[in-house]
Amino acid sequence: MSTTTTRGIARSAPAGPAKARPRQGLGANRTLNFWLFTGPFLIGLVIFVFVPIVWSVWLSFYDARFTVTPSHFVGLDNYRHMLSNSDFTGSLVTFTVFAAFIVPTTWALALGLALLVHRLRLLRAFFRSVFFLPTACSYVAAALIWKMSLFNGVRFGLANTVVGWFGVDNIAWVSNPSPPWYWLVVVTVRLWLQSGFYMILFLAALQNIPGELYEAAAIDGARRGWQTFRYITLPQLRATSTAVILLLLIAAYQAFDEFYNLITTRATWGQTPLMVLYKTALGASQDYGSGSAGAVILTLLICVVTLFQGRIMGFGRGEEST
């Protein structure tokens, strides 16, 4: 605890000089304060993150059906079961397809929106908020709106009304997997939900590009528009782009809400890795052992992919080295 003298000084002295004043005997207090402030968070982290991870790894070696405190050790059986389970391996394909759709489209749309909003002279704050607003919407709520009003299969659904103008018959967007219209539904809902957030990231980066660069380019004869964008803006956004792509990939890996609500676990297509794990561990079969094994495999995969991507795109090396 601080002494009364520091209190007196704090009152009389302005903030700047007070900071520079050497503090004696505060070391122990600092440690105490550190634990006091980070303690609750660390306790939460241990209880809600580390314990479940360790527990999950432990469960993955046991026959844990209808229980999370099993006693029958089965070695690597659960891992064998998951790796030979076509639902689980198929879900990795689903994820890859989803990522291939969602990552480039969100990246392009977010960047496009950022460029548009950045160039606005009027109402910039308004449009920034408008595009950012969907981020505040829950995935479940959005998925239900997409399913029940925009993309329902009856004639008065929004999408069917629009295709009806062109004489196309009602389409079952989600129920019928051939042709796979469900991709349109899951990709658009996520696009709507997350583009605004990444737009803000790009907007911040755009505002950080020094104006001199553009002036110098103009003097050197670079044309406004595509040429400036290609050779000035885009390279300057490299660090942000890398971060955005990494975040998008991780978010795609974690996809659950909209798939669960739109496609549901009753289908055999469009099942993301988390849905398969959910179905295995918490669904009908209550197989926590296999579910945990799948979770461990998935975690390892995410680590490997992230490291690999970092290697290729230079994430974390900083802007100087680019």
């Binding site: 605890m1 601080s2 520091t6 004639r155 129920s175 997997p177 009753r266 918490l282 669904g283």
Partner: protein, 420 residues
């Protein structure tokens, strides 16, 4: 703010926080209402119900609970389509419900999650529909009290069939033809639910097969069922099946709002349909499939179970006995005042006047003539395997034999774990 003023702020807040904690701790200890006793006002029980679609059911359930004097009963009303997932997960935790509604499934018995209720049912056993007792029994013990029986069948608009000059179908093929004739630009011929899972069991039975044989072996993998799956695929791609409707099969809105001419639904929705359509409504069982088939009706329903690992199993059993065995006026109210359900108790069914004439009586007749009850050995994992069969060969267009082979592996693995 400077570092010094920060630490000054710290100290005062710390003292205040410490004092606050000292006051709050004992309060928190007696205020925790997790439905697990300690309240000082007698026993506390918690019950789980899935969200019934009919108006007034939630209030009724809470009203019955409030009338119970020997324990405080709190109700968790689980909305959403995945009641079983939430229930199964909750049963593993300390916050598990003491009593819950579900269907008879053997894995709950084998894993020791439901308590033996033989002693409370035995004295009134003869008053229950024998099929309901059989479907809840394993190894001579009875594990759940049936609350309501819910037959599921097809509802059709008489006027639409008449207008299209279509006779009431008696086979699946005729049903498919009828659906095609009844389809107009505005109305689809038939609605079987958005993912068709509701007709899985009726399809098996109507093809003359069983989910499991009497010896608990796979009974659904027959030529008749394969034929039925092929016909369903034809229906799925015909353009006369309503898909992606805003509400699923259990909700009467598809037929009552004029989106389809024939809908698969449950008897629970009959009052709402009658209100919307009046007399323009008929019922028929799921028609027979192939030459060896026979029409079928799924006699679903809900039963009350006691969590064997709950805090006070005896108190929970006493509550179940009080409400679902002794309180006949509540049981009758629950079965007939909101949606229509068939009371599993003969004495209550005998005085349920609402079910004795008109369309409800026809529903009861279908229940008695064509009804199939749950098989306790057919578990959630097996239902789920059949969801995949429908997804793979009816919705996706794969080979029915291959889809059934895949289900055989899953169901076989389950059967081996359950019955050895």
């Amino acid at each position: 703010m400077s570092a010094q003023s920060n630490s000054h702020w710290d100290r005062r807040t710390l003292l205040r926080a410490a004092a606050g904690l000292a006051v709050a701790a004992p309060l928190a200890a007696c205020g925790s209402n997790n439905g697990r006793g300690g309240g000082g006002s007698g026993k506390q029980l918690q019950q789980y119900f899935h969200a019934y679609g009919e108006a007034g059911v939630e209030q009724a359930v809470k009203r019955y609970a409030k009338a119970y004097s020997k324990a405080g009963v709190s109700t968790q009303w689980i909305t959403g389509a995945d009641y079983e997932t939430k229930l199964f997960a909750a049963l593993l935790t300390q916050q598990a419900p003491d009593v819950f509604e579900f269907h008879p499934q053997i894995q709950l018995v084998k894993s020791g999650q439901v308590a033996d209720l033989t002693d409370i049912i035995e004295p009134v056993k003869d008053d229950f529909n024998p099929a309901d007792i059989a479907s809840h029994s394993y190894d001579g013990k009875i594990y759940g009290v049936r609350m309501i029986d819910d037959p599921q069948f097809l509802f059709y608009r008489k006027s639409m069939l008449q207008k299209a000059n279509v006779a009431v179908p008696t086979t699946l093929e005729e049903l498919i033809e009828a659906a095609a004739k009844l389809t107009t630009p505005k109305v689809k011929g038939l609605f079987l639910g958005n993912d068709l899972h509701a007709v899985e069991a009726p399809l098996i039975w109507s093809a003359g097969a069983e989910t499991l044989t009497a010896k608990n072996e796979i009974g659904y993998h027959t030529d008749g069922v394969v034929e039925g799956l092929r016909q369903l695929r034809k229906l799925f791609t015909s353009g006369s099946l309503l898909l992606d409707a805003p509400a699923d099969f259990w909700d009467p809105s598809a037929i009552s709002q004029g989106l389809c001419a024939i809908q698969f639904c449950g008897m629970w929705a009959m009052p709402v349909m009658q209100q919307a359509l009046g007399d323009d409504l008929g019922v028929l069982p799921f028609p027979k499939v192939g030459s060896k088939g026979r029409p079928s009706v799924y006699n679903g329903g809900w039963s009350m179970f006691v969590n064997a690992k709950g805090g006070d199993v005896d108190a929970a059993k006493e509550y179940v006995k009080w409400l679902w065995i002794d309180q006949k006026q509540y049981q009758e109210d629950f079965a007939t005042s909101y949606g229509f359900h068939i009371p599993p108790r003969t004495s209550i069914a005998a005085r349920a006047d609402k079910l004795k004439s008109g369309l409800p009586a026809e529903g009861v007749k279908l229940f008695n003539t064509y009804g199939h009850f749950d098989n306790i050995g057919w578990t959630q994992a097996m239902w789920s395997a059949w969801d995949s069969v429908i997804a793979d060969c009816v919705r996706k267009g794969g080979d029915p034999e291959a889809a059934l082979d895949k289900a055989d592996r899953t169901v076989g693995r389950e059967l081996k774990k359950l019955f050895g």
